[in-house]
């Protein structure tokens, strides 16, 4: 943060403004979370009576949560998702780092063509069927690996990590080289500890991605015991996409959805773990680690 030795009146006014703006935005974004949580705790009859929108319910009930959590499939799906998220994120960060570090060295021959080739993959893709065929050919279908390997490296995250490595001060690595460290040791002993913010950030990105994964689950998994959390939840609360023509000729195809309150409870169950983890990760956005490294 910017340092100010002592604050003028203008400085203090700007400070107040900043706090105010942030508070307002915070409230604006807090509101839907509040709405979701409140709805999940309100009795359904009250929701209907008020036309679907209740700000302060008269009573609270855990019925919706009971419906969701008593389903036999949820705990199992939760286990699957947690496993995949932890293992997957670890592998994601590992492979991404191993790829990003060399690519951050501008002197490495072949760097530019490789980067071009990787960015190319961000834009060009053969589509669902060829990817499925490859996943099948590599034996991943119907295994949890199918939720990890096909998305092992996100080029976007890779580029961010590369940029981060590029911006590390050169002296740090040079001093390591002078001390006789090879490339691998430099990476592990020096660069990695300095990369806490970026690892936390990308770990968050990859982790959230795993947590929210839905489509891969449906496509690659046949055994329902392997279904991750989002697939199970969405099955409960969302109308599948049906063609308009079908809806017109088949008016009874619209399925009856569970009450709004159950949907909201499902959302809370899906969101809560991640929202709980995030504040802990924020600790890693600490500056000053750099400072310590240089001085030490």
């Amino acid at each position: 943060m910017t340092y100010i030795r002592y604050k003028t009146r203008a400085d203090r006014a700007v400070d107040a403004l900043i706090y105010a703006v942030l508070a307002v935005f915070g409230l604006l974004t807090l509101f839907p979370l509040y709405y979701v949580v409140v709805m999940s705790l309100t009795p359904y009859s009250e929701v209907i009576r008020n036309g679907g929108f209740v700000v302060l319910p008269s009573t609270l009930t855990l019925d919706a949560y009971e419906t969701i959590l008593s389903s036999r499939v949820i705990p199992r799906a939760l286990r699957v998702t947690v496993t995949v998220t932890l293992a997957g994120t670890f592998l994601n960060l590992l492979v991404t780092m191993l790829l990003a570090y060399p690519l951050s060295k501008k002197y490495l021959p072949g760097r530019n063509p490789v980067l071009l080739a990787l960015v190319f993959t961000m834009l060009f893709s053969g589509g669902l069927i060829p990817l499925y065929l490859v996943v099948r050919a590599t034996g991943l279908i119907n295994t949890l690996w199918a939720l990890i390997i096909p998305g092992l490296v996100s080029t976007f995250n890779l580029l961010i990590m590369k940029t981060y490595f590029e911006n590390l001060p050169a002296e740090v690595e040079e001093s390591a080289k002078v001390d006789g460290c090879g490339d691998l040791q430099t990476l592990v002993r020096i660069v990695l500890p300095l990369s806490a913010p970026i690892m936390a950030t990308l770990g968050l990105f990859y982790g959230v991605n795993h947590w929210n994964a839905y489509f891969q689950g449906i496509m690659y998994l046949n055994d329902r015991a392997l279904y991750p959390l989002q697939v199970v939840l969405r099955n409960m609360i969302q109308t599948p996409n049906v063609s308009q023509e079908l809806m017109v000729t088949n008016p009874t195809m619209i399925q009856q959805l569970p009450p709004e309150t159950v949907k909201m409870a499902a959302v809370v169950v899906a969101m809560a773990p991640v929202m709980a983890v995030y504040p802990f990760l924020q600790r890693y956005f600490i500056k000053g680690m750099l400072l310590g490294a240089i001085k030490g």
Partner: protein, 318 residues
């Protein structure tokens, strides 16, 4: 271990190409080795499936497979470009994408900068966490909320307007407001998440720079201009280039949820059109052809943007 049998030229870059390559491979062998798992991944799971792009030029039949299907040249593209809606689709796609670039990138940066100025730790952590929340809500839920607020007859905003004597505004089903609603809800949903990356970048700016600046008498604005902003410049440029590359992806998921027949005129984008076709009839070739078209355009734009970035910023993606 150095292989002493190789001629000891002063720099690895001297000499003829195969020798240079071999020397480079040896000198940087650890770096190359490190990249192996990742590169293997890209090869198998990105480049091999890319062969499927030929479907864009074929009439894909499930039984004949990718290579057995009949070659039809550019016919799929003719279907796309020949649709009476094509011009409108392109226009809407571009307009919405450009709006997103113009209006959605800056709030992310702004939020990060503002948070960066905060000293009170609990306030900063709270705001950071709370603003992150809407990212997790699916667009279906966001739409439900938007409807509760903005629907013409029963929406809270409109009821307020009516109570104050005005005429209710058609936010969701009218051409004038549709794009605005899309952009605004996008900002609201994604800013917290988008700011994270800038916060991480800000966290790595060397504090000594700030201390030195204070000694030099710089106020907060000068510090921001000379230290803070340059610290996030590279990330910003990177994100900008990538967004430009995806300019023909105007945010399908959100648009699909918000779209209704009254706003096709301003909201129907390429992806919603393709999706509708796919629902009515099982059809892969047109979808792949559309993707190919988007990819080519995006790639050209990325190359151009990267070139400009290098020129004005000193560095782009590569």
């Amino acid at each position: 271990m150095r292989a002493s049998s190789i001629p000891n030229l002063s720099r690895p870059a001297d000499g003829r190409w195969p020798y240079r390559a071999a020397r480079a491979a040896v000198k940087y062998r650890w770096l190359y080795l490190m990249m192996l798992p990742g590169l293997l991944y890209y090869l198998i799971y990105h480049y091999v499936p890319m062969a499927g792009l030929v479907i864009a030029f074929k009439d894909y039949s499930l039984s004949k497979g990718i290579f057995g299907s009949e070659w039809v040249g550019f016919r799929n593209f003719e279907i796309i470009f020949g649709s009476p809606e094509f011009f409108r689709l392109i226009r809407n796609t571009l307009v919405i994408s450009i709006y997103r670039i113009l209006f959605n990138m800056l709030p992310d940066v702004l939020l990060a900068l503002l948070l960066n100025e905060i000293r009170v730790a609990w306030f900063k952590r709270t705001i950071q966490t709370v603003t992150y929340g809407p990212y997790f809500l699916s667009w279906v839920i966001v739409y439900g909320l938007a409807f509760a607020f903005l629907s013409q007859e029963t929406g809270i905003v409109n009821r307020l307007i009516a109570d104050l004597g005005g005429t209710p505004i058609n936010f969701l089903a009218g051409s004038e407001w549709f794009r605005t609603v899309i952009i605004t809800t996008d900002i609201w949903k994604n800013t917290g998440y988008g700011a994270i990356i800038y916060l991480a970048a800000l966290a790595t700016i060397n504090p000594e720079l700030y201390e030195a600046a204070v000694v030099d008498g710089a106020n907060r604005w000068r510090q921001m201009w000379h230290i803070t902003l340059p610290g996030i410049r590279d990330v910003f440029i990177l994100l900008l280039i990538l967004r430009i590359g995806h300019i023909l992806d105007a945010g399908f998921e959100q648009i699909y949820i918000f779209l209704n027949a009254r706003v096709y005129n301003v909201g129907d984008i390429i992806d919603t059109w393709v999706f509708r076709r796919g629902l009515e009839q099982l059809e892969f070739s047109v979808a792949i052809a559309t993707n190919l078209f988007k990819s080519v355009v995006g790639f050209i734009l990325v190359l151009g943007a990267n070139y400009l970035a290098k020129k004005f910023n000193g560095s782009g993606i590569w």
